[in-house]
């Protein structure tokens, strides 16, 4: 190499287009090798996964050697690590994109007006829809949110602003335990609670489902609200106290508004987390093919349960059941996407400006 050890000039660098070109080149080369050698499966298809893995390996070796020769060891290592990190990222994203695409592709078939306007009552073959399940999911999630958000936020306020000593430690411990309970246990809890309260004839209803969701949701809300309240700078509380503002007003008017954006985001993430719960609802809210707007009586369908039952209990025309299952999954995914979008908008609107 021409430069001296003491020089500060960079050694020769590879052009910017080197990396993409090398990657395309290696992939093309590998593909060519596979085609030429006739290395295919019985029906003549190329093994794309093998091409990707071998192509990537070729790219890494080639890049490292060329870069080492031209740019030196430090840059060669840099290129290699960049390669690994990008590969890890791709590996993480591929299943996600594939899943989203599969759900979209298969769900779009039945994502029609009928799907959103009719229930499955008296439907045995084609047609029918998930309106009863959508209504159920919206109602149950709303009730669960109404129960767990005040409970969760107030618990978090207690833990951060007031709690001290044994009680606070016990609450923190049980919140941790609750975060870890399997969702089916929450369903069993709600089911047995309503069994005791209402008897076996009417134990399974929307409210029981909502309670089981609330059990799952509350610890998530407590946790996220607690984290958000903790990062409110103590200086703001002190500033408020120094103005002669009592503690409860400080909490209500200074601490909560400052943390509001984070809390709202946390709540929406908690909703998104429980909206896809299947097992507890299967137990506590049951499943039905009919419309039921009243969460206080009768079984209630929800989207995840709709997807499950459509797939598990296929009727005479199996294909239409499977189509409806995919459409239900797609609807659920769209709802979660909308919720996340809402979380972003809310956090934009409420976060402190400056």
């Amino acid at each position: 190499m021409a430069t001296t050890f003491y020089g500060i000039q960079a050694t020769a660098t590879l052009p910017r287009w080197f990396s993409p070109l090398a990657l395309i080149g290696s992939l093309a080369l590998t593909t060519a090798m596979f085609v030429v050698s006739g290395f295919t499966d019985e029906s003549g298809n190329l093994n794309l996964l093998a091409i990707a893995v071998l192509g990537f390996a070729l790219y890494m070796i080639m890049t490292y050697l060329i870069s080492r020769g031209v740019e030196g060891r430090r840059k060669a290592t840099d290129r290699m690590v960049t390669g690994w990190v990008s590969a890890a990222f791709a590996l993480a994203v591929v299943p996600l994109v594939s899943l989203a695409w599969t759900v979209f592709e298969k769900g779009i078939n039945r994502l029609d007006a009928e799907f959103f306007t009719s229930s499955m009552r008296n439907v045995v073959g084609e047609g029918g829809g998930a309106l009863h399940a959508i209504i159920g999911t919206v109602e149950l999630t709303t009730i669960a949110t109404l129960i767990s958000v005040p409970l969760g936020i107030m618990t978090a306020i207690y833990l951060v602003e007031y709690g001290r000593g044994r009680l606070a430690k016990a609450v923190t411990f049980f919140v941790d335990v609750m975060t870890g309970i399997p969702s089916i246990v929450a369903g069993l809890f709600a089911f047995s609670l309503f069994l005791i309260l209402l008897g076996p004839a009417s134990a399974i209803n929307g409210m029981a489902g909502a309670v089981s969701l609330a059990v799952l949701m509350t610890p998530v809300v407590v946790r996220s609200a607690e984290e958000m309240l903790k990062i409110v700078p103590n200086e703001l509380r002190e500033a408020s106290y120094a103005l002669g503002v009592p503690k409860w007003l400080t909490v209500v008017k200074v601490v909560l508004p400052t943390a509001l954006a984070g809390i709202a985001t946390g709540v929406i993430i908690a909703i998104a987390r429980v909206i896809g719960e299947t097992a507890p609802l299967l137990l506590a809210a049951g499943f039905t093919t009919s419309m039921n707007y009243n969460p206080l009586s009768e079984k209630m369908m929800t989207l995840p349960v709709f997807v499950y039952t459509s797939y598990a209990i296929q009727g005479t025309d199996a294909a239409s059941y499977v189509d409806r299952a995919w459409a239900g999954a797609l609807t659920l995914m769209l709802i979660v996407m909308l919720l996340n979008l809402g979380a972003r908008i809310i956090s934009k609107l409420f976060s402190p400006k400056g």
């Binding site: 002190e238 002669g244 400006k353 400056g354």
Partner: protein
């Protein structure tokens, strides 16, 4: 209004730890009293006892008596929240409320206490407090902008405006300029001198030039060693403390020969 504060054999504790021991002093109204001394000597702790802010820390309490114009602010029937309404405080780091505009920050002492006021009163008070804090000309066209959009020095003056808006009797400043540049520091110092016309001003500072420039009285605190309580070594007129102190420790400290 401006009140005389009298401390008699005041001990300040954090649980069992005695942080400040046996302080006797009279803080004069309409004057600036500076607390100086090395870090950890209890200056900040002591200034926070003047508006019962140290009680925010669990386990903190005082012994002895602390009276404002003869009224014991630690008497059993006294509400610490009401004490703080009479004794305003400015902190080391500017801490405007990030969710509020400049105007709302100035009025926060009222707004946070759910006191309603007419729009004209609110406008008048905002202007008066911001003029009082030498900030009006800089922000009058952007009162609805967030308080955190101001520079550090402006934010600190906003905090002072917020403190004087509730018309306290005493203003406590805990190292109000240690996070600011010299220009902003000069603005705050000028402001402190103006404020003593109306208020009792107590300022904690690490900057001895600042103490000698602006204060009328200076209290020097020191600590014998780590884990020992801080003590008031000498309290006198500022000129005396900086030119001819009685105590050797004080002389060593103000002349920079300390430690």
């Amino acid at each position: 209004m401006s009140k005389r504060i009298e401390l008699k054999s005041l001990n300040v504790y954090y649980s069992k730890f005695l942080a400040v021991e046996d302080v006797n002093m009279v803080i004069e109204p309409k004057a600036i009293t500076a607390f100086i001394g090395p870090s950890g000597c209890g200056k900040s702790t002591l200034i926070r006892t003047l508006n019962r802010m140290h009680e925010v820390i669990p386990g903190a309490y005082v012994e002895g008596s602390l009276t404002m114009d003869g009224e014991d602010i630690y008497a059993a029937e006294v509400d610490p929240v009401k004490v703080r309404r009479q004794v305003g405080m400015v902190f080391q780091r500017p801490n405007p409320f990030p969710t509020m505009s400049i105007k709302e920050n100035v009025l926060s002492g009222y707004k946070l206490n759910n006191n309603r006021m007419s729009k004209s009163d609110a406008d008048e008070l905002t202007e008066k407090a911001l003029v009082g804090a030498n900030l009006w000309n800089e922000v009058k066209d952007r009162l609805d902008r967030p308080g955190s959009s101001l520079s550090g020095g402006q934010q600190q003056r906003l905090c002072i405006a917020r403190a004087i808006a509730v018309e306290p009797d005493v203003i406590l400043m805990d190292e109000p300029t240690s996070a600011l540049d010299p220009i902003s520091t000069a603005a705050i110092e000028d402001l402190a001198v103006e404020l003593k016309e109306k208020f009792t001003v107590v300022i904690v500072t690490h900057n001895m030039q600042q103490a000698s420039r602006i204060s009328d009285m200076t209290a020097f605190f020191n600590i014998a060693g780590t884990g020992m309580p801080g003590k008031l070594i000498e309290y006198d007129r500022t000129e005396k403390i900086f030119s001819n102190p009685t105590q050797k420790q004080t002389e060593d400290y103000v002349s920079g020969r300390f430690g």
